[in-house]
Symmetry: C2
Subunit: 439 residues, 2 copies
């Protein structure tokens, strides 16, 4: 038996706005950041659990405060009790009768819960000596169903249906684990497409993406229609007709504008339109889906929880579902969302990029392939080439594919040196002279 | 010209859990709390702007941190510039490209924005020497339209339609102001109905409610069906057939359960079923509305923003719309919601209670009557008899009606002595010996 003795939090920010990495129609100048925690126990194995919320700068302190507000549920607790019943542990946080008022199940508090839940999964996977995707992919269907809170889901997905989905995928699990190790998991890249980049940089990065083996790229749109047409033309001419090009409006439009704008971009053979409008607008996405068909609508990086995803699927409001490792309440809720997607036969193509999102979300997609959907068809994980060097186990993306992580844990552990260097506002990276030089 | 020189924040909590005031099927033991701020300028008039987020205890520190994260948009700014264009000021906060990631427009950060926006409205009303409801009710239709951000709304409500609603109500404004002063605004009371109360206390409070002139009471349900039936029977027998009885499940049910449970309560002639399920579930509320008709479905105290309200109206998911003064991003967003309700011809019956919610929201309902819907029909404001003594201008509820506040400002200003006494965790009310005595 061991006890959780400490939860340390870090407000870590990278001055990415200096180079307009990550710039799009809504996010002009992000400083990619992480409200980060590590969970420490008194166990002899020395394992720690690490997790984070991704933010884009201001407000990272608020997320850190939210993680701190959860410490009372963790510090002093029996580690095994928490890790052995992760379904109950999830409910402990999400159903806190007072904290619930701050959501419920959305925004700052829900993301903080996600970070703590994911840190506990990291610890659990390290103790098992397995990468998270394998740990999950080897749990029994019954154990997996027990992770999920079906409250508010039963009109779309019952525990019995979830069990059936897991059981149906069970026979091929071992074979698909092998397949992943042999062929990897498909990736697509957003690296070329940020709005702040010049046409020359766009074309160069498009060429590199093709050379690197990616079958799909993604461009940011929604700032200016003529700019979008010019940039899509450059991209299409550069990559040729066989590489898919998705576009991403980052919530810039209202319903009618989304439909009319996309009509102007359709000639460039668009693979999907991502985040055309508010992530809260189920009915709006459904109207846009009807209006831009056959172009699929993709969304999810800002979808707050499983209740909105449920409705998006019920209303045929999205045709590509984009989970995010650090938006909802962690691994448990993302498994519920993977099940909903499987039930409605909608492919999951995770949002990634930022800080550590690629490292974290790959485990969920690989688990999905092994134990839920059982297919790679129409599936791929976003790849952005940012900030991976700060992670102890950075992603391995080659030939346009994610190669399965084999290190134990959930993948989100950063180097202590990075946590210190980019600590905000006191770290060396944020000293006045350093920021001025970076600029 | 003046400058905003300081924004002070307070974490204020009242140990209400000691008496099970406010207990319902989801909120077992709330400590009613406020993340409170006051805005100070260097103007000679000495006016301050006060505002708050209501919470139920834990997490009030997180809300306070979120308000602090907004200080950079306020301190050092020209006061008149902010107050003269409150539409632009609202967008300044809500469209902050980095803070937006924490929502967007929901949860902790959005509520914090609401508190700051409301504090600025308080300051603006004090400077005008008017209560907020009169300040708003005397602005021109064009000025009112300029307060609203129509992003994500235009598929349901355009600026032109909003202008038309305001213009249509304009001729009768003065007369309706007079009417309010003469007859007040209808109220209903939730005081009798908390789950934690004994049957005897329930009956006694029901009798008192009738004696006090209320035409509607509300009971909490959703904990246990037999308890609900027993309590409803007591309430109905006590108040007689002419007093309306609404019930409130505080999000306890899934869709099917809501419908079947309500069938068991229908015989008691229920005025509405409030919060039957997740406040995020537009399609769920629509299904419940169809399933329990003709009982109206009411919701809103946890509806995160205008985008969800828009869909609730589009889908006929609610028949009673419950705004809350401290959930969305303040006065501006609530005006947008009042307009949506008017467009869809749905009555607005605000959520109140907690700390200061009655004081704040009455201004919005009275403004709605004067300048938006123009009617009191099917409208009433919730009343709960808690904690009003801490406010400089407490509500005046008599004969089952809210009597219009005439003091300048938005009504949310607390006594400094209360802010100090209930300051958490350092205030006298939270000293160990005090809490023990209160228990």
């Amino acid at each position: 038996m061991s006890i959780i003795t400490a939860v340390e939090t870090f407000d870590v920010r990278f001055p990415t706005s200096k180079h307009l990495d990550g710039s799009d129609a809504m996010n002009a100048d992000p400083d990619y950041s992480a409200a980060y925690l590590r969970i420490i126990t008194d166990a002899a194995d020395g394992h720690e659990g690490h997790g984070f919320v991704f933010t884009i700068g201001r407000g990272n302190d608020v997320e850190t405060a939210a993680i701190n507000a959860l410490k009372g549920h963790v510090i002093g607790r029996n580690t095994e009790e928490l890790l052995d019943d992760m379904g109950a542990t999830w409910r402990l946080f999400v159903h806190d009768s007072q904290l619930r008022w701050l959501g419920p199940e959305k925004g700052v508090m829900h993301m903080a819960i996600g970070a703590v839940v994911n840190a506990l999964w990291d610890l659990k996977a390290k103790r098992a000596g397995l990468p998270l995707w394998q740990l999950l992919g080897r749990m029994t269907p019954e154990e997996l169903v027990n992770l999920i809170d079906f409250r508010y889901l039963t009109d779309a997905l019952t525990p019995e249906e979830a069990l059936e989905i897991f059981r149906k995928a069970e026979p091929g699990r071992r074979q698909r684990e092998e397949e992943l190790l042999t062929v990897g998991y498909p990736a697509y890249t957003t690296t070329p497409g940020w709005l702040g980049y010049s046409d020359e940089k766009l074309a160069r990065l498009c060429r590199e993406a093709v050379k690197d083996g990616f079958q799909q790229i993604k461009l940011k749109v929604g700032g200016d229609l003529e700019d979008d047409r010019r940039r899509l033309k450059i991209a299409r001419e550069t990559v040729g007709p066989d590489i898919r090009i998705a576009v991403d409006a980052n919530q810039r439009w209202d319903v009618a504008e989304a439909i009319s704008w996309m009509k102007e971009l359709a000639e460039f053979d668009v693979a999907w339109i991502e985040e055309p409008t508010s992530p809260d607008d189920v009915l709006g996405h459904a109207a846009i889906s009807r209006g831009v068909a056959p172009i699929p609508v993709a969304t999810g990086e800002h979808v707050q929880n499983r209740v909105i995803f449920k409705q998006m699927l019920q209303a045929d409001a999205l045709q590509v579902l984009q989970i995010d490792a650090a938006r909802v309440a962690g691994v448990n809720e993302n498994i519920a969302i993977l099940l909903l997607a499987a039930k409605f036969n909608v492919p999951v193509c995770p949002h990634a990029g930022g800080v550590g999102l690629c490292e974290a979300v790959q485990h969920l997609s690989m688990f999905d392939f092994v134990a839920v959907s059982g297919t790679l068809e129409r599936r791929m994980i976003e790849f952005v080439d940012h900030l991976h060097e700060h992670f102890i186990t950075p992603i391995d993306v080659r030939q346009g594919r994610y190669w399965p992580p084999l290190a134990q844990g959930a993948g989100a552990e950063m180097h202590l040196a990075s946590l210190q260097e980019f600590s905000y506002p006191g770290g060396p990276a944020w000293m006045p002279e350093t920021v001025a030089i970076a600029g």
